[in-house]
């Protein structure tokens, strides 16, 4: 426990240093990548709560991110923008404009409520069934985003969102996410989550309320998904429903699984590895010349390589890089090990 706390404290200090120092040291391109890594870390950490620690493999997480992004986008548009871009917005929304932070909090809270409503029935399902059902939720969110054009401009690009998201904002929220999740996962509640994941029947036999445990994990994950969605919206400035669909889902799942589904530091390591790997592959994909040999642009090749790496991980290291362990300073290492049945959702 001690070692993990020290590691966490060091991580927070390091994050503060990057958040305020990076723009002075590295290029804008690097700053963008660092920001996206931190943002994706929020997404993947919040996803790990249900998918990794509680064993409810949701495919609907991006639904919360997307809904949060749109919600916070609508709230922060200026009144003039609302009149010109969203002329049919109902009266109760079109006379005010919220600053970034309150809008982000509203997105988080409303996504939590949505998760409770959606999760109350869905968290009764297990295994494949919950994956397919949450996938249904994602599709429903997508359909609503496309068709509720009074609010979202439909399939057209939603634009004009102020570009408020900066490194300190993202790292600040990442720190909050990490602290909350760390407290949660390594608490009695965290042990209940893992018990539910490892053996649902045994967990309910010892008196754990399976539905409540799953629902809490799902809802807290949705809070940070909503917050992250808001940050993403204010990073992109403009986006459309397809931004928050299966491609993003796949990407987040790849990061989570690569890092290790039962580990917070694993989630972040997964994000960093996949981000760096895709940047590298993307630069190769654009085509290059060595001597007289010109390799033409091969669009899609980087994703193919990523896909194969993913399958190899599934075959040879299904627990990911970290599995159930946390990154910890070796000389302080005394973390209690809990036997982890790899990703078993029975």
């Amino acid at each position: 426990m001690m070692a993990r706390a020290v590691t966490l404290a060091l991580a927070l200090v390091l994050m503060a240093a990057i958040a305020f120092g990076a723009p002075y040291v590295v290029s804008d391109y690097m700053v963008r990548i660092i920001l996206l890594i931190a943002l994706n870390s929020i997404f993947v950490l919040s996803l790990s709560l249900s998918n990794g620690f509680t064993g409810v493999f949701s495919l609907g997480h991006v639904g919360f991110i997307g809904a949060g992004a749109y919600l916070s986008g609508i709230l922060t548009l200026t009144v003039e923008q609302k009149h010109s871009l969203l002329p049919h917005l109902p009266a109760f929304l079109n006379w005010f404009s919220l600053p970034f932070l309150p809008a982000t909090l509203v997105a988080g809270v409303l996504m939590t409520l949505l998760a409770v409503i959606v999760g109350y029935p869905l968290m009764r399902l297990s295994g494949y069934f919950v994956s397919v059902a949450t996938m249904g939720f994602l599709i429903i969110v997508n359909v609503v985003l496309i068709n509720a054009s009074d609010f979202t401009r439909g399939a057209r690009t939603f634009t004009g969102v102020p570009l408020d998201t900066s490194l300190p904002w993202v790292f600040g929220w990442l720190a909050v996410t990490l602290l909350v999740l760390w407290r949660l996962v390594y608490s009695p509640f965290g042990r209940r989550m893992k018990a539910v994941r490892d053996d649902t029947i045994a967990a309910s036999a010892v008196g754990i309320d399976v539905l409540k445990t799953r629902l809490l994990a799902f809802a807290i994950g949705a809070f940070f998904a909503g917050v992250g969605g808001s940050l993403y919206a204010h990073y992109l400035g403009s986006f459309s429903p397809v931004t928050f669909y299966f491609a993003m889902t796949m990407n987040l799942i790849a990061m989570l699984v690569l890092g290790g589904m039962g580990s917070l530091s694993g989630a972040i390591i997964g994000v960093i590895s996949v981000s760096i790997l895709s940047e590298l592959l993307r630069s190769v994909e654009r085509g290059f010349t060595i001597g007289d040999v010109t390799i033409p642009a091969l669009y899609g090749a980087s994703q193919i390589v990523l896909g194969f790496i993913f399958i190899l991980i599934m075959i040879f290291r299904p627990k990911g890089i970290m599995g159930e362990r946390e990154l910890s300073l070796g000389f302080l290492n005394s973390s209690a090990k809990i036997q982890f049945k790899q990703g078993e959702v029975k």
Partner: protein, 300 residues
């Protein structure tokens, strides 16, 4: 009178759409039956079938042989997917196998983009198949490709019916989806059964992909995605893992979608997919065994 004609036309549309859903759902259910795997790559096997056909038509092969080669191409793709990706994780936990199938989807779709680019292409349907039949002064219309779709759907489903009731392999496939170790005890070669199941399921995916693309008139690498999602709904409505259930679910879903579009107010129509997937969730929650087996337990 004209109401009746309108209803008749919508019924034709429902059967036409339902038969495509049924073709896709059947393959999903076959694979789920023997492997208990939700095979997300099934939609991409459809794409492989459609692209193979289009490529062969492009080099001058007539439509019908190209169609059969497309089916073979899809079956071959299914065979390779099983060998390379699914067999190594066959005994892994459910989630691992689900993720593997997502990764296969990811690879195949991007492979499609790499080879064909992500922009849609025309499906070079022979003119003869585009000819339409009109009755009652154009109130009832269908084209030759509609007819061919129905004919091929029913022919292939009758063929499948024969296969799973009359041949040892087909019976074995059904037996294995009920009880894998009992199937081993009577001496069925489970490896072989799984391979056959993948070939048959992927062949059906190929046929469905070709017909889907022929009706839509375009192909693109992500073309299998929407039909796959709909087929999930169809298969689950009918009872996941059951072949008869997948057929029933396909036609029920086709009829439901046409009903929503044709008979409900225009304000609701765009939410068709939301309604369909709400239905999926409702079935998972309240009738997980599907229409046919309301009392089946969910295997947790």
């Amino acid at each position: 009178m004209s109401d009746l004609v309108y209803i008749l036309q919508q019924m034709i549309n429902a059967v036409s759409l339902g038969s495509l859903y049924a073709l896709v759902a059947v393959g999903l259910s076959i694979v789920f039956g023997v492997l208990k795997l939700t095979n997300f790559a099934h939609g991409d096997v459809m794409m492989v079938g459609a692209f193979t056909t289009v490529l062969l038509i492009g080099v001058g092969m007539p439509f019908i042989p190209a169609l059969f080669c497309g089916i073979l191409g899809a079956a071959l793709a299914g065979l390779l997917i099983e060998r390379i990706a699914y067999r190594p994780v066959r005994n892994a936990p459910d989630v691992t196998r689900l993720l593997t199938s997502l990764a296969v989807t990811y690879i195949l779709e991007n492979f499609g983009i790499l080879v064909f680019s992500s922009s849609p292409r025309n499906f070079p349907l022979p003119d003869a198949l585009n000819e339409s039949w009109q009755f009652m002064g154009g109130a009832i219309t269908f084209t030759n490709i509609n007819l061919l779709t129905l004919a091929l759907t029913f022919a292939s489903l009758i063929g499948l019916g024969w296969f799973i009731t009359k041949t040892t392999l087909g019976l074995g496939m059904r037996a294995a989806s009920e009880d894998m170790s009992a199937a081993q005890l009577v001496g069925l070669d489970v490896n072989r059964l799984i391979v056959v199941a993948f070939i048959v399921a992927s062949g059906f995916a190929g046929l469905a992909g070709i017909l889907w693309a022929a009706q839509a008139g375009v192909i693109q690498p992500q073309m299998g995605f929407t039909p796959l999602l709909k087929a999930f709904v169809a298969a689950i409505i009918g009872g996941f893992g059951s072949i008869a259930g997948a057929l029933l679910g396909g036609f029920v879903l086709g009829a439901l979608e046409i009903f929503i579009v044709a008979f409900l107010p225009d304000a609701i129509t765009p939410y068709r997919d939301a309604i369909v997937f709400s239905l999926l969730i409702a079935f998972l929650l309240f009738r997980p065994g599907g229409i046919l087996k309301p009392n089946r337990e969910i295997k947790l």
